[in-house]
Amino acid sequence: MDLVGRILMVEDDPRDRELTMTALEEYNLTNEVVVATDGEEALDYLYHRGKFQTRANGNPAVLLLDLKLPKVDGLEVLQQIKSDEKLRMIPVVVLTSSREERDMVASYKLGVNAYVVKPVDFHEFVNAIKELGVFWAIINEPPPGSIKKK
């Protein structure tokens, strides 16, 4: 089997998390998914802080980022990542309900790698997540220093 990159999913809504996990399950990508429930936790993971203090080294192969998050919102997380020399190479995919142009523009200005609007239709949603997962965790070669496992 191919190497599977680690996916950091930043999502506050447990239902969205479950639906996303269901979609990823089909390709057995769930083992490598790490969940952060808000922006602060996401940054904690990336900086080895808080409950992620003891985690192994290495960056995730991709970060699935919701925009509307408690405490630190998605755009702030994105800005932090893209302005940090050690983190800026991590591919970030914004995965959001918002089709608002200003969110899109702001994300791309900050250097996001992809912007995906969660479809309301479940089949479309599952397909989108699956394709995302397959592309970023399997097909795409992540930058050096990313966590990838068999």
């Binding site: 608002e100 309301v120 949603f125």
Partner: protein, 498 residues
């Protein structure tokens, strides 16, 4: 002939004048002789003097001398001894000399008086003309509606025209002779000494002053002063014209106030707009998420439990899913609609021809299996927001596709009619199910539908979106239709760049 006429006239004039002298002396002689017949003595002397005086008065000094000479000769010939002889006795010589002297003196006086008289008449005529001219000028000044008054250097009013009476309310009789500043209670914008200094330096001043009217109200006037100097160059009087600018001043204040209000209103609207934007934003984020969950979990439930569910329960599941999807569509359409109102339009030169091609290829999935007869005319380029115009065309064309679905030979025509008043007018015409013109006003309203959902699907936002897009381009939308006979939708876009 014309050149010789003046000398001829002069000669005639001279002859007339001397003829008068001869005639008057002759007449005096005749009368004296006639009276002599009736034994009146001593009348000849005053008669001759009268003839001389007459000649001098009406014919001038030359004929006067002639009259004196003729009178002397006639007097000598007819009235002194020896009669009928020009012989003058030595003893009577002083008498003749005296007569001639007296006659000459009379002629001289008469001529002098005549000259004075003429001069007097001439100056009287001149004076009369002058008075007429002045009266005319004064009445002209009086005729103007502009306020004009004159005051001397002690500020005493010396002239007050009708315009002044109309503006301030005092008649000329009331105003003339009054002190202008006391009467008008003038409030100057700068110290009056400065105004007077400028007036003396430049002979004029203009500015806005506030004055009182006879009824006690105040009036703001634009005042112009002109200094009149006498022959020695000393200031003599000040002529003032006033224009009532109270209304203008009030208007300016009003405009200022309105602007302020407008500013407040704009701020309010901006706040409301921001609120709306926040509202739409939160709908976009928060309303779609639970909907996605409904759909997602229902799908998962259907997948897991479809085997144990009976027919009825499966239909319930399907209905839940369809309703949720429909709501998703509604939200998306509504958000797109509200975005059109909020988004900036980006004006570029758009080729409608190209846009229609793109839209047709986008709707081709649905139309491929159907045998639609397309007829696309030449379409122009116009200035507008490309993505918005495309959205408008997508809505119109997909509507045409949708409502011709029941036709065995569907026809859709897209064309352009350029009208100078409207700029570009584009139409999309179909032979579909059409609509009742009774409801034409409802067509472009949000959530307004003229067909049942099970006949033709739709959210009822498409035409509202078209209307909003076209309005944002400064254009108009309208439609014509007949039930079962098709519909034509028009939109106009001004041809100029906005």
């Amino acid at each position: 002939m014309a050149e010789r006429k003046p000398p001829m006239a002069r000669i005639l004039g001279v002859m007339q004048r001397y003829g008068l002298a001869i005639l008057s002396v002759g007449a005096a002689l005749g009368i004296a002789l006639l009276l002599g017949r009736y034994h009146f003595r001593g009348v000849e002397f005053p008669l001759f003097l009268f003839a001389i005086a007459l000649s001098v008065w009406y014919a001038g000094i030359g004929p006067g001398i002639v009259a004196v000479l003729l009178s002397s000769v006639a007097f000598d010939f007819f009235f002194t001894e020896p009669l009928y002889s020009l012989y003058i006795r030595t003893s009577e010589t002083p008498y003749y000399v005296l007569f001639i002297l007296f006659a000459s003196l009379l002629a001289w006086f008469s001529a002098l008086r005549r000259r004075v008289e003429l001069a007097l008449v001439r100056s009287r005529d001149e004076l009369q003309q002058e008075v007429e001219l002045r009266t005319q000028q004064a009445s002209l000044l009086d005729l103007t509606h502009d306020t004009i008054f004159v005051r001397n250097m002690n500020h005493v009013i010396t002239y007050w025209n009708r315009g002044a009476q109309e503006l301030f309310g005092w008649t000329p009789e009331e105003a003339v002779g009054k002190h202008s500043r006391e009467l008008l209670r003038t409030i100057f914008p700068i110290p009056v000494e400065e105004i007077e200094a400028e007036l003396l330096r430049t002979d004029r001043w203009e500015g806005e002053v506030e004055r009182a009217k006879a009824d006690g109200t105040s009036v703001v006037v634009a005042s112009r002063w002109s200094l009149r100097r006498n022959e020695e160059g000393k200031p003599a009087a000040i002529l003032e014209t006033n224009n009532d600018i109270t209304q203008r001043r009030r208007g300016a204040e009003e405009v200022l106030k309105l602007n302020q209000k407008l500013g407040e209103r704009t701020a309010e609207l901006e706040a409301i707009n921001k609120e709306l934007e926040a509202f739409a934003y939160s709908i976009s984020h928060d309303l779609r998420a639970p909907l996605r969950h409904v759909v997602g979990y229902a799908e998962m439930l259907e997948k897991n439990a479809s085997k144990v569910l009976d027919e009825k329960s499966r239909r319930y599941m399907t209905t839940i899913l369809e309703s949720a999807k429909r709501m998703g569509m509604l939200i998306d359409d509504l958000l797109a609609f509200s975005r059109i109102g909020r988004a900036e339009t980006r004006q570029t030169l758009v080729s409608l021809d190209q846009l229609v091609k793109e839209v047709r290829s986008e709707v081709s999935q649905e139309t491929d299996e159907r045998n639609i007869a397309w007829k696309v005319g030449a379409l122009p380029e116009l200035y507008g927001d490309r993505s918005m115009l495309k959205l408008a065309l997508v809505n119109l064309i997909s509507n045409a596709v949708k409502f011709t679905r029941t036709r065995t030979q569907p026809q859709i025509e897209i064309g352009c009619a350029e009208r100078p008043s409207d700029g570009v007018v584009v139409f999309v015409k179909d032979n579909g199910v059409g609509f009742d013109m009774k409801y034409v006003n409802k067509l472009f309203g949000v959530f307004q539908r003229l067909h049942r959902a099970d006949e033709f699907e739709g959210t009822g936002i498409g035409l509202a979106t078209v209307q909003r897009i076209i309005h944002r381009h400064g254009g108009q939308v309208w439609a014509e239709g007949l039930v079962d006979k098709g519909a034509t939708f028009f939109f106009s876009v001004p041809n100029h760049r906005r």
